[in-house]
Amino acid sequence: MKRSITRLLMAPSVIMLLVWMIIPLSMTIYFSTIRYNLLYPGQNNFVGWMNFEFFITDPGFIPAVSNTLILLLSVLIITVVLGVMLSALIDKPFFGQGIVRVLLISPFFIMPTVNALIWKNMMMNPVYGIFAWISQSLGLQPIDWLSSYPLMSVIIMVSWQWLPFAILVFVTALQSQDSEQKEAAQMDGATGWHIFRYLTIPHLARPIAVVVMIETIFLLAVFAEIFVSTGGGPGYDSTNLAYLIYNQALLQYDVGVASAGGLFAVLLANIVAFFLIRAVGKNLTV
């Protein structure tokens, strides 16, 4: 087939994505250099780097960046480590495997707003929540999760959503593991740990890369869980970049500063993506 036709077939996707990327991004760049507050229309003079200075010196900036990274890394570690261990443990035939699979994957389909509401109210409420009831039954003081450990609460919610995904991907991948190889190793006297370390882990390298990549895309943008449960508080304790920028733009109407923040978020994502796409790109066959 002619090159021109193949190009023509790709054109709609490529052009639409290009437009989707370039127009808003250049608008963001433009807004970030002018004074632009929705409450004071018409005073849009050029201010240079001022918006960036404002954003970076905002008291919420440092907490937001560190919270974003802590959230990303904690959830990645929890889901990958627990995911690998749990999937290796349940990767044998047992009674009711199909039902277990269905139960395991369910949290992945729960929408983030519902996820946050269930955990905030029914699980973590310090008086009526299930956790409070468990602590009380054990004779312990119930913990007010959302105000004492806000970021950890968000990490728990997000991990609950993504752990099932990791388990399911790993279980699926393990099913293609060579069982003869495992048996041969067992014959030669390899312990369970050795098999796990030298056969299972290398076999999972590629699925792990994929899980890390996909989760990163979604974890850098966690928003609804925070919006619904902690509202970024108390103080800035559970504010991440996405929430901070939302706060600037739609609550304080400062488009200029929010745009500067948006560009910073793009920069951060690019730094993460630079390493990630490289690492993962090798693992994906194209």
């Binding site: 996707s13 929408m111 519902v114 269930i118 699925p207 850098l220 928003f223 194209v286």
Partner: protein
């Protein structure tokens, strides 16, 4: 213990362990479901009550208070609409990249994926302002356009990785028999990839249904899908968990049940065919 007995014991232990993990992870959903049939008093009773007379009252109140049907319809329209449009745009692109790869195909694919890395907050302000200026705030049109573009890279990737695995000989044979490129796609490629296309569609529908960033920021009531409707239950601090649970159950049930039926395809899809 004989080897056989040992093996049996291992199976039982594995099973017990797996069931425990699954039940613990599923518990919050189970609890939400149960609570939706309680009265408000039962919902906050300590110790939690497991046995009670179920009531459907909460579901009636949710429908009355926030018009569930209206928001569910918005969710259906936006997720199905954007999925169909994205498929129409993505199929030709994936087809041409898979069957007629050029030097730059890999770069284009990685570039598409990298647009997913562009955080939504980075473009929140301009999109919000564009929508405001064109009267698209709180409209389904805006959500459909955004969802389409949001999922397009993933859809192209998934279709590409499926198409790539189709045997090229079949296409060559069709061409020998005088099939035009159009015939090739419609009569050979599409019928062979019905499964692939439907699992791609499923994934896209799930992602749109649960999308919360854009729907929270760009809609208020007219176009608000279920994700935004549920968020409205977070503001008043009253104790009305039974109603909250009923609303949540209604919002999640369609997509969770939907997900149960196609979880296998979803794993393959979400990992771009890298895990089979």
């Amino acid at each position: 213990m004989t080897l056989n007995q040992q093996r049996k014991l291992k199976t039982i232990l594995t099973g017990l362990f797996a069931w425990t993990v699954a039940l613990v992870l599923f518990f919050p959903i189970f609890w939400m479901f149960i609570t939706s049939f309680k009265t408000e008093l039962q919902a906050i009773s300590v110790p939690p009550s497991l046995f009670f007379e179920p009531t459907l009252e909460n579901f009636r109140i949710v429908q009355e208070r926030s018009d569930y049907i209206h928001h569910a319809w918005n969710s259906v329209v936006t997720s199905f609409g954007s999925t169909i449009i994205a498929l129409i745009i993505a199929i030709p692109a994936a087809y041409s990249m898979a069957f007629f790869p050029g030097k730059r195909t890999k770069d284009i694919l990685l570039w598409m994926l990298s647009t997913k890395m562009l955080p939504a907050v980075g473009v929140l302000v301009p999109i919000y302002i564009l929508c405001r200026d064109y009267g698209l705030l709180d409209s389904k049109t805006a959500l459909v356009i955004i969802f389409t573009l949001m999922n397009l890279p993933i859809i192209v990737w998934m279709l590409f990785s499926y198409f790539k695995d189709l045997p090229k000989e079949i296409l060559e044979a069709a061409r020998m028999d005088g099939a035009t490129p159009w015939d090739e796609v419609v009569k050979v490629v599409l019928p062979l990839s019905v499964g692939a296309i439907s699992s791609t569609a499923l994934l896209s529908i799930v992602l749109c249904w649960n999308e919360a960033f854009w729907s929270l920021n760009l809609t208020a009531s007219d176009a608000a899908p279920l994700t935004a409707m549920i968020a409205s239950y977070s503001s008043p601090e009253g104790l009305f968990w039974a109603k909250l649970s009923a609303a949540s159950t209604l919002a999640c049930a369609p997509i969770v049940v939907f997900g149960w039926f196609c979880q296998k395809q979803l794993v393959q899809g979400l990992t771009f065919g890298a895990v089979k």
